[in-house]
């Protein structure tokens, strides 16, 4: 009989490709519950984007992100916390491909992907850090 609720907590340092460690954990949890590859793939995008955002905006004094997954067969909750100076999500422009093609800055897609791939997204940001909470339905 499998557990109905599995939790994983990791503190990730700011080193290249460290998000892949979290993805490995996510994939193993997903397969444990028999989650479809499509849903695991979408969750992979959410985890990747939330972590690289956290590491990019995290503070130099505490260059880590705290990552927590809670998974059931129906739902995944992803919490990613950084310790940077925070940001106002309402002031992040919504990227548009036509504008990006002619812009020197081709980046800035992370938040759009988080909103689009998730079923619920909450961003709590203050001058001492940011916590991103993501809910992804898996069934």
């Amino acid at each position: 009989m499998i557990d109905t609720n599995v939790n994983l907590e990791i503190k990730l340092p700011k080193v290249p490709d460290i998000e892949l460690v979290a993805i490995q954990g996510l994939e193993k949890m997903g397969r444990y519950f028999g989650i479809s590859e499509d849903k695991i793939g979408e969750a992979r995008v959410l985890v990747t984007e939330a972590i690289i955002n956290g590491l990019e905006h995290g503070g130099d004094g505490n260059p880590y992100v705290q990552v927590e997954f809670t998974m059931t067969k129906d739902k995944l909750i992803i919490l990613v916390t950084d310790y940077g100076k925070g940001f106002d999500p309402d002031k992040v422009p919504n990227p548009d491909i036509e504008n990006k093609l002619v812009s020197t800055n081709k980046r800035g897609w992370g938040l759009k992907l988080l909103k689009s791939m998730s079923d619920d997204l909450i961003i709590e940001s203050k001058p001492t850090g940011t916590k991103i909470s993501i809910i992804k339905n898996l069934s």
Binding site: D38, I52, I97, K100, L101, V102, K106, G110, K112
Partner: protein, 112 residues
């Protein structure tokens, strides 16, 4: 999961085919960009990018692909992605990539 990234390029008539393997992040994006610049020579009017062996991409890596699309648009050339993982295809759809690039099931189909 390996973090190694590789890219192989070949030219078929007027088409540049680039095949990636591994995680497409900022470092891989730079490698793709360098490989494209090196091989996008006069006469090339189509670029096929086969991502069949890249199952994970991040938005920073994709920003380098958008830069390639911009350069191809300037030369009236086109980019065709092949063998896309369903999640990557969904990601590209969300970003609107297919307004300015195409997709095909295989390199062979893209070369036709």
């Amino acid at each position: 999961m390996s973090t190694d990234f590789n890219i192989i390029s070949e030219i078929h008539n007027n088409t540049l085919v680039m095949r990636t393997e591994g995680y497409i992040n900022n470092v891989a994006g730079e490698k793709i960009s360098e490989e494209f610049t090196k091989n996008f020579v006069s006469g090339i009017n189509k670029v096929v990018m086969d991502l069949g062996k890249s199952k994970v991409v991040n938005s920073i890596g994709i920003s380098y692909l958008i830069d390639i699309i911009e350069k191809l648009n300037e030369h009236n050339s086109k980019l065709i992605f092949t063998n896309l993982d369903p999640t990557i295809e969904k990601t590209f759809n969300i970003m609107g990539i297919f307004q300015f690039a195409q997709k095909a099931d295989s390199v062979e189909a893209a070369l036709k």
